[in-house]
Structures are given as structure tokens and as C-alpha cells.
Symmetry: C2
Subunit: 115 residues, 2 copies
């Protein structure tokens, strides 16, 4: 039986965001993401092929979307980001670390989607 705790194993210092896959099955990937102040590099956007449900578990964060909207997130806040909705991480707290849970729902039939 696999088990763990999402608030343990958080390094005191780390240079880049840490992505850890918690489970992966066809069409589904669950990951923990750790940030200590890291943000998406200037001018870059996430543009994902699958939908993502993302939850902030600890810390504070702010997302920005290509349509100009922003979303400030506190613990317990979740947002469903449709595929190809361009977004960036504008802010994450360093202390405490931002702890995210990301559920990626991938396209079941890639052949049906354009490039």
C-alpha cells in the first residue's frame, strides 16, 4: 500500500520548483509541486495539452492568465484550468513553501487533436 504526507520532505532551500509524480495512469497524472518563491520565467506561459485541476495546500500564490485576469490563491483554493488556457505563476511564497497538488487530465485520443 502506497502512502505519504504532502507536507513532509520539503527542502529548506531549492533552486527550482520541484515536481514529484504521486500517481500516473492512462489519462491521469497526479503530482506534488513545491515552490519557494519561484515563478514562471518572464514572457513564458504554460500552454498544456490537457486540463489541469490544481490545489494550493500551503503558502500563498498568484496565477496570471493570458486574458489579463489574475487569481490570488490561499490554502484550500483550487482552480480548474482548461487545456490551452495560457497561464503563468506570478508569485509563490518562500516561507512557508507553496505546496501544490496538480491533477493532470490528458487527452484520451491524441490522434483526434491537431498537432
Amino acid at each position: 500500500m502506497q502512502q505519504g504526507n504532502l507536507f513532509t520532505g520539503i527542502p529548506a532551500v531549492f533552486p527550482q520548483e520541484i515536481f514529484e509524480t504521486l500517481l500516473e495512469q492512462p489519462g491521469v497524472r497526479l503530482e506534488r509541486i513545491l515552490s519557494r518563491g519561484q515563478v514562471t520565467p518572464p514572457g513564458q506561459w504554460y500552454d498544456q495539452d490537457g486540463d489541469e485541476w490544481v490545489l494550493l495546500l500551503q503558502g500563498q500564490a498568484r496565477l496570471a492568465f493570458a486574458d489579463g485576469s489574475q487569481l490570488t490563491m490561499e490554502p484550500g483554493d483550487w482552480v480548474y484550468i482548461e487545456r490551452h488556457r495560457r497561464h503563468r505563476v506570478e508569485y509563490t511564497s518562500a516561507e512557508p513553501a507553496a505546496v501544490w497538488l496538480g491533477l493532470h487530465l490528458r487527452i484520451r485520443n491524441p490522434a483526434a487533436t491537431p498537432g
Copy 2:
């Protein structure tokens, strides 16, 4: 864009566990579960057709498994429960309420499974 917070909208009193579907897609269902002291009725077991990844976000809880093992859970603790692994909820805290996130991964090809 759908969004919400998992720590809000928790009634002060409720007679039975509250199950709320956060998202549902083929093969995947994500739900928030709220408990205030409720447990699985004596002699009953959960025996699920699909695997479940379950996370305790707030409160305390204890699971029991049909093999005799028990698992005490604190916030951030998660466990992956394989399908047909019989389990029960033996304890949940009333204050604060136990807040769970359950990710149900259903069988993709039900025709291939008995009964």
C-alpha cells in the same frame, strides 16, 4: 473557469458525511468528503470497483483494513487504496471537521471485470 476553496462551506453540524463531486470525467472522479465524527457503520466495509487515492486535508482520522491493519491520518497524509481492498473509516474528528479529497480511478473496461 471553475474555482473554489476546500476549507469553506463546511456546516457546523451535519448528520451524515457529505460527499461533493468536484470534477468527473470518464474514468476519473474527484470529490471532497466532510466528516464530523462519522464513521463507517459497524460491520460494513467499503469494497470499491476502482482504485482510490485519498488525502486528509484537515482534522484527524483512522482507517481500518480487512487484513487487520490500521492507518492513523493527519493533515497531508494520503494513501492509495487498491480496488477491492476492503476498508472502513474507524474514526474522524468532529472539531475540526475532517476534510478529505478522494480521487477515484474507475475501471476503463467494466466489461472485462466480473459482476
